[in-house]
């Protein structure tokens, strides 16, 4: 399966190389623009910049899995994949892993370049708790893979669900502390915001930089991510079973 997906990954990368470049420019503009606005409103911090990259990076499972399912269901390729793979969910996760590798290769130099551009020194970068950041990132990603599978599963039976994927990504951006710290969000959002899948990850990042206690937050994040991953897998398989009873959404 890894070989199959690796082959597919390279073929897709070669075919859509122009699109990757435009995506990179998009990513650069959005991140730089948002961070510039944030730095006008408050003291810019490395964790603030990291939070933006963090949001983009952990949102990948959500957007990638749902886009893949949407496009492949439209072309009939998803049904072919289902006919040839013992575990479709696993194929999607493997595909996602390849894509994340590619995004890592883009995001790391971009993050470093932007950090230097916004005035952070190499000393600041060297002092940053990269180990803690990577651990937080990994755990948050696991939860988001679950979320991606859940949304992807729903797409198998409700074709219009694709429209809500982007909305969900931006909801997470603005309500999870990536742009505005949670305690500065409107009061009615705050109780909910704490439980959003990105919030604990962003909060852990902030505490890592401020030197606050982060162990408990990370533990909470781990529990949340494991639950989301399990729920995502369960929901995906339930939706797949339902699709086999009612027909796949895009081919009904």
């Amino acid at each position: 399966m890894w070989r199959a997906e690796w082959l597919r990954f390279w073929a897709e990368l070669r075919f859509y190389r122009q699109m990757w470049i435009s995506q990179l420019v998009n990513q650069l503009l959005i991140t730089a623009g948002l961070f510039w606005v944030i730095s006008l409103l408050s003291q810019p911090t490395l964790s603030g910049l990291a939070a933006l990259f963090f949001w983009q990076y952990v949102s990948i499972p959500l957007s990638k899995i749902s886009t893949d399912i949407w496009e492949e269901s439209t072309s009939g390729a998803f049904e072919q994949m289902y006919l040839h793979a013992a575990q479709p969910a696993w194929v999607l996760v493997v595909r996602l892993s390849n894509y994340l590798l590619q995004q890592t290769a883009v995001a790391v130099p971009l993050f470093l370049a932007m950090a230097l551009l916004f005035g952070f020194s190499l000393t600041d970068l060297a002092a940053y708790n990269w180990g803690g950041m990577l651990l937080t990132l990994g755990i948050t990603l696991a939860g988001f893979i679950g979320l991606g599978l859940a949304v992807g599963g729903v797409l198998l039976i409700y074709r219009n669900a694709i429209g809500y994927t982007n909305a969900l990504e931006y909801l997470l951006l603005f309500s999870s502390g990536a742009v505005v710290p949670l305690n500065q969000l409107p009061a009615f959002i705050q109780p909910v915001a704490w439980w959003l899948p990105l919030s604990l990850g962003i909060e852990t990042l902030r505490r890592l930089e401020n030197g606050g206690p982060w162990g408990l937050t990370l533990m909470g994040l781990a529990v949340q991510s494991v639950c989301m991953l399990a729920l995502g897998l369960i929901l995906f398989n339930l939706c797949l079973r339902r699709a086999l009873r009612r027909g796949f959404a895009m081919s009904r």
Binding site: R8, A77, L83, A86
Partner: protein, 286 residues
């Protein structure tokens, strides 16, 4: 397949379909739109589960593992593959997924057998619909699928592609495999199918070889004539502005006044008449 039932509430799509397919035959699945053909194909491919009934493949109940190795499917109006892949990459991709050994050589063989070598390195997006269909056929060869399912087999294909597909399917069946296809191009279906199954409103209304069905339903070739004025012979099919569309036997043509004959057409498709006949009998004459 025995007693298959499937519904998408409130509509009952299949109502007790029982069919047996044999090795080496090309079977055409016919029916008007909404007859249940695509649903039937999807059930065989394991893309839908029946509410009732049983599907056996190679002597065992249909399950995902059997489908993976023994069934190949090309669906209606869809490329069925990611279009940035070339036919060769497509085959390698699914070959890796299935864990097929000696893959490179087998992919070469499959491309050869599906007559795809010259297009093997071009992305599917740049290829014609017929060539995409051939990629599906090559995949069937690669995995050694015993059952090839083609929904709307000849739709969107030009004359040459149809001829190519016809001979490719024939070769595939001659290797001991079974092909089940649907289609609305009756000429193509007659030319390629050994046997036809006619579905009507979710039920099998006819099943047999063409000549058997022709005898059973007293189907014969006839002549269709547009005739000016009241005809003395033949069956009037429709009337429009003093012109009559008549159904005639060949010998009746000489009984008409040749000066009033506006158009003559030999109706050749037995299947088309079979469809109309069944539809007429069922009280839904098109």
């Amino acid at each position: 397949m025995r007693n298959l039932h499937k519904s998408f509430p409130p509509r009952k799509v299949l109502r007790g379909v029982s069919v047996r397919l044999y090795e080496g035959e090309i079977v055409g699945l016919l029916g008007l739109n909404g007859a249940g053909k695509t649903t039937f194909i999807k059930l065989l491919a394991g893309l839908l589960v029946p509410e009732e009934g049983q599907i056996n493949l190679l002597g065992r109940p249909l399950n995902p593992a059997t489908v993976r190795t023994a069934v190949a499917l090309m669906k209606e109006g869809q490329p069925s593959f990611s279009e940035f892949l070339t036919p060769r990459q497509c085959l390698l991709y699914y070959g890796h997924l299935l864990g097929i050994g000696n893959l490179e050589t087998r992919v070469d063989q499959a491309l050869e057998m599906a007559d795809l070598r010259q297009f093997a390195e071009r992305p599917l997006l740049e290829l014609s619909f017929g060539t995409k269909r051939k990629t599906g056929l090559a995949l069937a060869y690669l995995k050694g699928a015993r059952l090839l399912l083609l929904d709307e087999a000849s739709a969107g294909l030009d004359v040459k592609s149809v001829a190519n597909l016809r001979s490719a399917l024939r070769r595939y069946a001659q290797a001991g495999n079974t092909v089940l296809l649907t289609g609305h191009e009756m000429g193509f279906m007659e030319a390629v199918c050994d046997r036809v199954i006619l579905l009507h409103e979710g039920r099998v209304k006819a099943d047999g070889r063409l000549h058997e069905l022709g005898k059973k339903y007293a189907l014969q070739q006839f002549i269709e004539v547009w005739y000016e004025g009241e005809p003395l012979v033949g069956e009037v099919l429709e009337q429009e502005n003093g012109l009559f569309r008549l159904k005639l036997d060949l010998h009746e043509l000489g009984l008409l006044d040749g000066r009033r004959v506006r158009q003559v057409k030999l109706q050749q498709s037995v299947l088309e008449h079979l469809l109309q006949e069944v539809d007429r009998v069922e009280g839904r004459m098109a």
